[in-house]
Symmetry: C2
Subunit: 465 residues, 2 copies
């Protein structure tokens, strides 16, 4: 008999879903890495550089020492009052670990917590939000999650009833949105960011796309805004944000504000402002693998909030180390604490180095023939546009690939640098881009720039019309 | 205008979903706990005892020291080569931490891993499965997940296309199954466990229910088996398991084997056998809050496996501490290792104490008027049946509650003991049960037994026909 499960008999929504940052190009990169390991010297490069995903520690970024001290002490509290511990850990990390353990019922970091996360940790996060925004935050509106992804799934699950429910999403967007909308069976309603004005978000474009969706019988339920942008790296201006909030109010849309990169702003003229008043926001610090995060849910009725709580409950709770980390991010060492200076130095060191790397890569891209690249004001990405010769587009067609995917695959094969084709994020039809993280360590950037430049030149020489 | 989101406009699948172990009774327990904190002495008991959920550490179970030593060292590896560390940590924990860090690309525990989890940790788990079963396990078939819940969601998402797709589930069942089937829009096809034969799983019952579902136009896709049982605590016999596998083969069903309690077997005459040949299994050790777990997927075509990988990728990866813990559970200290004796003593101490607690509670339930309780052969639960007087059933009707929910609420209000009504798990219509964990610390059991006994007596006195 036929196998019980085949591509013809699985959920078609799973088939439709795509997730470019872990797609075909990454599978190729993993294969090349295996070949390189088995046979050093078999490739024209010595190592694979994963610029496909915002994963700082995989490229050598060191974690903040204070965070890791506290995590280790919370995981193994029986050393807290041993004398050797004083020599190994900073005094404020020891104190913070005691505080956090006091907040956890039974001091049990291996126990399931409340479905929304440990109440004491949510208190700390609410206080951190309050300090950031100057508006009160309610710990009961906060849901601690295993990273941003489950929070996005939860909201899509809540809001999408059928294909007739639409979600306004930026194009380009981070593919978590297109993937989760597909998995939950809704419709992505695109609004295009304006590349010519530094990936500007125009209210007129939102209105146009909303009307267009309505005319097709789609009920738009929510507006997704990613700020700072991913993959586009722009930081929204405050008056633009106000207009967006007003638009959501008028049109009765839930505002899903993805603010995971709130700490990553690189240009002095731009500042991060949260969408908190009617938004949910999510925390972030480069500790991706710890799967920590929070979602603040405001403006919902108590009954709807109950339903969100129920969906969270079906997974029981998010991981406790991630919960602790989210509370540390929202309440780092303060002036006067033993760890304050080293913490500040580590943090400033990371952010200023990221700013330098962003600038160097941006300049390098802008120096390539036919390439233009907007500034990375925030987040961790550049999204350069490449104008490909007709001959390259024909060659891509012959290889049954999108032209940008064709370019990215050639780049990987020639240099070991992994970037993600723009088609995975969406782009204005007929334009081609790729997303490149700014995360390789600073001493590697010059080599990357020269490899990129050399590859691009020979690619253009090969395909120039 | 109307609020954009109301109970009328959210996804009806969310509304339909129920999750009893975190339902109304737990909300009441949390309120009573708050009242007790604000006003000590305000209740007829001093503390709330959460027997509603299998959460050992929240009730005082200590974690295995070796596991926590390794976790702490992996979280903060910069102390690994300090001299003070030798005094604080066992030598084999230090060695294991070095090994694990070597397996993690870039030694970065804060980096996203492969979507299925770190390859080296999957190698360790595959070797552990092989040692357990005597059959090879492929690390590429293993998906590391944030606990069992996301693994179950993934499979439901893959297999359910519409309400016409059915999942054979035991009744009583753990409500993760009914909840996730409801969220993904499928149909639960019940098969009843036979209470009279110690919650026996009869193939004839599977066949009957399968035919019944078919006659209603439902395509049954999979069979869920929980072994050891939850909430029922039985351990399946090997020949019964063989017949179940044969049934799945004949009927073309995916076998979803939930084996999270594989280490928890309390009776010498029963042994755990995994369903590994065509099954997926999930790991477990009482470290619930760490959200670690694995799913082994075998017998699927490479294309379908790819689709599972893609769904896993949309969440990028599970948390790294949980991944490390899953590898430790499947590869604990061995004879000769410094930690072996303390590890064995801790583990045996926990398991033999659980066996004693199970027996004491089982006897206590069987001594209550109108109550019968099967043996807990494994897992962490008892599921006693209560025969309620007609007057109690009438009183429950008047209070608009299921009779078992009415009983459980009265029990909580009188004693502070939280148990979950059987209606949350499913039961033969007209019968009433509740689920009680065997997890309160041993020194508290006598007091629980006398409180329960006293409550039950006065309840029966009040309502006796």
């Amino acid at each position: 008999m036929a196998p019980p499960v085949s591509l013809d008999t699985i959920n078609p929504k799973v088939l439709e879903c795509e997730y470019a940052v872990r797609g075909e190009i990454v599978t190729l990169a993993q294969r090349l890495q295996d070949e390189l390991k088995a046979k050093p010297g078999s490739q024209p490069f010595d190592e694979i550089l994963y610029c496909n995903i915002g994963n700082p520690q995989s490229l050598g970024q060191q974690p903040i020492a204070f965070f890791r001290e506290v995590l280790a002490l919370c995981d193994h509290p029986s050393i807290l009052d041993k004398s050797e511990t004083q020599g190994l850990f900073s005094a404020d990390a020891i104190e913070r670990a005691w505080q956090i353990l006091d907040q956890i019922p039974g001091r049990a970091t291996g126990a399931y917590s409340h479905s929304q996360g440990v109440k004491g940790l949510r208190d700390t996060i609410a206080a951190g939000i309050e300090a950031r925004d100057g508006f009160p935050a309610n710990p009961n509106d906060i849901f601690l999650t295993d990273g941003a992804s489950p929070a996005v799934h939860m909201m899509m699950q809540l809001l999408i009833r059928s294909q007739k429910d639409g979600m306004l999403c930026p194009i380009p967007q981070y593919p978590l949105y297109s993937a989760s909308i597909a998995l939950h069976g809704g419709s992505l309603v695109p609004y295009y960011l304006d590349e010519a004005t530094g990936w500007g978000l125009e209210i007129s474009e939102l209105k146009k796309q909303l009307e267009d969706a309505k005319s097709k019988g789609i009920t738009v339920r929510a507006l997704v805004v990613i700020n700072p942008g991913n993959p586009t790296g722009q930081v929204l201006a405050e008056d633009n944000q106000r207009a967006i909030v007003e638009f959501c109010k008028q049109e009765g849309l839930v505002l899903l504000a993805d603010e995971v990169y709130q700490e990553n702003v690189y240009v002095p003229e731009k500042k991060f402002h949260s969408f908190k008043k009617i938004a949910r926001s999510m925390g972030y610090y480069g500790e991706c693998g710890k799967r920590g995060g929070y979602m603040e849910v405001t403006g919902f009725s108590p009954e709807v909030r109950e339903q969100i709580y129920k969906v969270a409950s079906v997974n029981l709770c998010s991981n406790i180390s991630g919960q602790i980390l989210a509370s540390l991010v929202m309440s780092p060492p303060k002036v006067g604490d033993e760890s304050y200076e080293s913490y500040s130095a580590e943090k400033d060191g990371i952010l200023s180095s990221l700013a330098r790397r962003a600038k160097t890569l941006e300049d390098a891209f802008n120096n390539l023939e036919g390439v233009t690249c907007n500034k990375a004001e925030g987040a961790m990405y550049l999204f350069p546009r490449i104008r490909l010769p007709q001959k390259a587009i024909k060659a891509a067609e012959a290889a049954k690939k999108a032209p940008d995917a064709f370019y990215c695959q050639r780049l990987l094969n020639a240099t070991g640098v992994v970037v993600v084709p723009g088609s995975g994020f969406g782009q204005v039809p007929g334009t081609w881009h790729f997303r490149c993280t700014i995360l390789p360590q600073e001493d590697k950037i010059p080599a990357i720039v020269s490899r990129l430049t050399e590859f691009h030149k020979s690619f253009m020489d090969e395909f120039r019309d």
